[in-house]
């Protein structure tokens, strides 16, 4: 192998029942480089990564690693670690009911002289690791007490903490805020200087241009090309990924409407949930899109969950359509015309072992009730309609949702809520893990919904995305609603307000 190459994969092919996921794909990772792996949803990025780390059993191809003669074949993530490949997978797979520290050290606990687990040392070492990353957590707390973003950072910390030659990050930034992303980038640059080769998957193009040196593009399971970053500007990158030129997002425009006289869809007074969100008031008009901005852990999701009854509100009153309602659990909210796409796809979104069809109709069926089963023909019609509408890439409507790529799973959950035809839709990070082509489609969809008189509460860590679609934004800080911005929404204005300046 040439001098500075640390990992080389050639001719990788991999078939799942009914899908050729990879066809003769190659990848070359050099020492001390950050290498972006790009492609649309379902292009085969995660599959390729799982081939490298031994989770997938590929049929053809070979993998070479610096310092090891001959081809290597991993059989598990542990094997991969032994040859120096550390990985953060797309779906966080840590143990929610163990502490942060235990999650960091699971499988490689520091031992005392008596060969018992050295709890003291690993708690203090864990705290140090997290502090260095600039993440404030109590490492003795269970992981499930923290947001998905923190969980993602813990997964990253766990991978980075190990001595490695290759670090693979599959969409590590999908639930991170700018600030955390910056922390991660600092870390990546530090590792790069140490000579680690980093493979980085993301759907955020600006992140690619911020840290990467080189790009490999996949399309439909095939290798499109490998380019130095300077030779592949944004437009060309998108074209390489999609196989065609895309009219960029800039073409999306919301209507600037005055809502002061519009009827009210949602009106919350003093709603709160102990421990997560302090009492807040919120009015949303019919046809209005309201964005929720705030830093990680500021209570963005929790605000939405209190309205929807995912976390039952402890105080306050809620009016829907001008009528007071009592919401004890999600189905109550659904019967009042609400819907909520949660941010944690794996834990609260997908029903892994059910088919795409069943996952799409689930909420609609729940709303109709047990005794009004949708006929099979009707179910299929609905499934097909939404597979088409949000462009879900799946072998068939009967494919199990767990067999879809991350972004396509997200689209299924979105379809589930669209199918219920809600009057008020809460979207918590709806474009997480979704490629840029589809992202603009979803933003258009939101604007279209609003045009039909539906109201949307839109939560995203991408401020730009909210600016493009929202008529108004509310600002969250430390579990408290601290302000609203409705005029002259601008990136700077929102950032300023989030950070705690006088909004």
């Amino acid at each position: 192998m040439e001098n500075n190459v640390v990992l080389r994969a050639r001719g990788i092919s991999m078939t799942f029942p009914g899908v050729k996921a990879l066809d003769n794909v190659q990848l070359t990772l050099r020492k001390g480089e950050i290498h972006a792996l790009m492609g649309e949803n379902g292009a085969g990025k995660s599959t390729l990564i799982k081939c490298l780390t031994g989770i997938n059993d590929f049929e053809a191809g070979e993998i070479h690693i610096d310092g090891i003669n001959g081809t290597i074949k991993n059989h598990s993530t542990r094997d991969a670690q032994n040859v120096g490949i550390s990985t953060v997978y797309q779906e966080v797979n840590l143990c929610p009911n163990l502490s942060v520290a235990e999650n960091l050290f699971i499988g490689r606990e520091p031992l005392t002289k008596l060969h018992t687990i050295d709890r003291k040392s690993y708690n203090s070492r864990s705290q140090k690791i997290m502090d260095e990353l600039g993440i404030s957590v109590d490492v003795t707390q269970n992981l499930e007490n923290y947001s998905l973003a923190i969980q993602q950072m813990v997964a990253i910390a766990r991978a980075v903490d190990m001595e490695c030659k290759v670090l693979i990050l599959d969409e590590p930034t999908s639930s991170l805020d700018d600030e955390e992303v910056e922390k991660l980038f600092k870390l990546m640059r530090k590792l790069k200087e140490k000579g680690v080769g980093i493979l980085f998957v993301t759907h955020f193009l600006e992140q690619v241009y911020a840290v990467c040196d080189r790009i490999t593009v996949l399309r439909n399971g095939t290798f499109v090309g490998e380019y130095p970053i300077s030779e592949l500007p944004r437009v060309k990158l998108v074209a390489a990924m999609m196989g065609k030129y895309l009219n960029d997002l800039e073409s999306i425009h919301k209507e600037n409407k005055d809502f002061t006289n519009a009827p009210m869809e949602i009106s919350a007074k003093g709603l709160s949930h102990t421990g997560t969100v302090k009492p807040f008031d919120l009015d949303i008009h019919k046809g209005e899109v309201v964005g929720v901005a705030g830093l990680l852990g500021s209570g963005r999701s929790e605000l939405a969950r209190a309205i929807y009854g995912a976390d039952k509100a402890n105080t306050g009153t809620l009016e829907v359509d001008g009528k007071p309602v009592k919401i004890n659990q999600p189905i109550d909210a659904m019967n009042k015309g609400m819907g909520m796409l949660p941010d944690d796809r794996k834990a609260e979104g997908i029903i892994a072992d059910l088919s795409v069809r069943e996952n799409i109709i689930l909420a609609l069926q729940a709303k109709r009730g047990m005794f009004k089963l949708l006929s099979r023909a009707k179910q299929e019609e609905i499934a097909d309609r939404y597979i088409d509408l949000v462009q879900i890439k799946t072998a068939s409507r009967e494919t199990l949702i767990k067999q879809l790529s991350g972004g396509n799973q997200q689209k299924v959950i979105l379809a589930r809520w669209l199918a219920t035809d809600p009057d008020f839709l809460i979207l918590d990070e709806p474009t997480r893990g979704i490629d840029i082509g589809t992202k603009s489609e979803i933003q258009k969809l939101i604007i279209k919904l609003a045009g039909e008189g539906k109201s949307v509460l839109f939560i995203s860590s991408e401020i730009e995305e909210m600016l493009r679609t929202s008529n108004r934004m509310i600002i969250m800080r430390d579990g408290e609603k601290v302000g609203e911005l409705d005029r002259e929404l601008s990136q700077e204005g929102v950032m300023h307000a989030i950070a705690g300046g006088e909004g």
């Binding site: 999600p330 189905i331 979104g349 029903i351 892994a352 689930l362 729940a366 709303k367 047990m370």
Partner: protein, 364 residues
Amino acid sequence: MSKKSNSKIYWNKLKNWPLLLPVIALILVMAVNIIHDAAIGENPLSFFMISLRNTTTSGTILYGRIIDIINRGSEVAILAIGMTLVVSASAGTDISVGSVMSLCASFMCMMLAGYGVSSTTTLAMPLAIGLLCAVVMGIVCGAFNGTLVAHLKIQPMVATLILYSAARAIGLLLCNDLIVYVRNPSFAYFGAFTGPIPTPIIITAICIIIVSLVLKKTALGMYIQSVGINARASRIAGLNSRLLIFLAYTLCGLFAAIAGIVASSRITSADSNNIGLYLEMDAILSVALGGNSLGGGKFNLAGSIIGAYTIQAITTTLYALGVSTNQAPVFKAIIVILIVVIEAPPFKAFVRKFNASRAAAREV
């Protein structure tokens, strides 16, 4: 399309057929019977032979080993229906069903005979009320288990352990420590014959048909599976996970009551210590044998039912082979081990690898 690739498609379809495992097990048991019969010089197909016989007690009845297996397998098959729902919804098992069967039977016989009466030929109250008592008792027990699991979040095994150990004792208490005999023909009917057909078979068939219809015509099946796979996500999507888990246990209790009625009617008595003994294990085994994961989620009712009859077939075959009642569990255990191994992911992966390497070798 060439013939070879055609057969390959069929083979692949067959491999993914959810009933493959239970059907293979059933066929294996039949094969053992055929070989055994041939070896002892009987007609090899005597296992499958059904004839009409005249008896002094029940008139003309269907007779044959198959009939016997389907008849005696009734209780396990009925229990397996409820167990399938419980396993799917809660990823746990209800180990109290055998004891609950016994309690329902005791309660019913006590009501029919009158408290403290140990043997009667006349009913102390209408039969329907006795049956209703059994059913209500079953539902109450199921609801008790359901509350512990769904609302108090107690591990299913631990929660149902309570009634597993207590129900028989409560039954004895109700019967004043007696074995209550109800030697009344209208009560004995449920364990006897309807025309030439054993009544338990008919009762089982009715239970299966009703449950299948409910699963086909309502969303219950999808709801239960969804909750079993991901309760949190199901809740967000509008399902009441607690209610559904509660419902599964309650239904399980109901079916235990029906099985208890059949078992008690067969022997026209409530033998608290023996009715339904070890049947919870057979019911759980039926579910596993039916290709259902004991980890919850997706279920296949037909598999469980075939599983139940397979277990009865195994038991009957073992007796036919001259294995004593005391040794039979050893053989059942061996069969369980085999099934569990075949279903285990590492074994499946091994088979896949083995097939792949053979395919590769063929290509070279």
